[in-house]
Symmetry: C2
Subunit: 199 residues, 2 copies
């Protein structure tokens, strides 16, 4: 590994956040998943939960492509909602779903500097009742237009960047948030990815 | 037109903003353009400038599709950058480009409650030197990840929703911003679209 590459990996690691994650429930289109992963990487979200209870396990994330964010993320795959949320609860204090309903609050009222998981649902059906029951509440991205829906990848990016804005204001990117253990584990994985990429 | 439909159109018109616009310079992929339009519609941006100096005029915006935002927007097409920016200058006080360079400020330091135009460039080449020279400054969407670029449609949505957040805080959605003349003109166009859609 070149010194420049090492420096780059370390710089990115130092910004990774261990208190924000994204959950994709039965998101069917691989483009939406890879776009969500790219947004996660961009704001420093390290792990993502892919929960497929109604659709088959995804075959690939485009991980072979050099522009894929998947290889820099920790991806947890589940086929059982209860097991998935049990795992999430161990690390995150609040779980919010994006689900259009009258008691939903808007994105901009959420405190995204706490340990929080944001759940996005299927392109057509949205977040399931089962998953909503496992979460702490719903939120919406406000809209004032004629078309009343946003693409998943757009919705995910808007939420992640609102989190980024709040977390930056709160100083979350000023010091390393990962524990040394988390950091060292990722460093080993990334160094391996880096070697494979350059072959 | 049903009373419900009339009410819906009027509600959307009452949120339209006449002090924020998006300029797409040589954005080649029609999906990126239609996604940008959908985000514009979602936050109440009424007009969009499509400037194609290096690529052919786009044939369609997916305007036939009922889910297309294009029919609810005012689309200005230009093939000459100087003419395009002359038109923009008549309505907007500040023009900012998204261009990666060291003197760029970040999105979150921009005042997006002023009369402002945001310029997004070609997927590969970015905003051209010609257009940068016609603008007031550059900004970047901050990123802390391994992949160092965002898709245009994602970048556009993140910027528009940051504008939405600022404008909502400033009360920009509380009272109608369009002049009666602007409103009436749009009402006529939309009523026509509505008739065509329902046929």
């Amino acid at each position: 590994m070149t010194p420049e590459r090492r420096q780059r990996l370390e710089a990115v690691l130092s910004k990774r956040q261990n208190d924000l994650t994204v959950v994709l429930e039965n998101v069917a289109d691989p483009h939406n998943i890879s776009a969500a992963m790219r947004s996660c990487d961009a704001v420093g979200v390290q792990e993502i939960y892919v929960l497929n209870t109604k659709i088959p396990r995804h075959k690939k994330w485009g991980a072979k492509s050099s522009s894929s964010a998947a290889k820099w993320l920790t991806i947890h795959q589940f086929t059982d909602a209860a097991a998935c949320f049990e795992a999430i609860r161990k690390k995150y204090d609040r779980i919010f779903t994006t689900h259009l309903e009258s008691n939903a609050v808007t994105l901009y009222t959420l405190n995204l500097t706490q340990k929080v998981a944001l759940v996005f649902g299927n392109e057509h059906a949205g977040v399931s009742d089962e998953v909503r029951a496992l979460a702490d509440g719903n939120f919406i991205i406000p809209q004032v237009g004629m078309i009343r829906s946003l693409n998943i990848s757009v919705a995910c990016a808007v939420c992640l960047y609102e989190a980024f804005r709040q977390k930056q204001q709160a100083g979350n990117y000023d010091t390393q948030k990962l524990s040394m253990q988390e950091r060292n584990l990722l460093w080993e994985q990334w160094a391996q990815e880096n070697t494979e990429s350059s072959q």
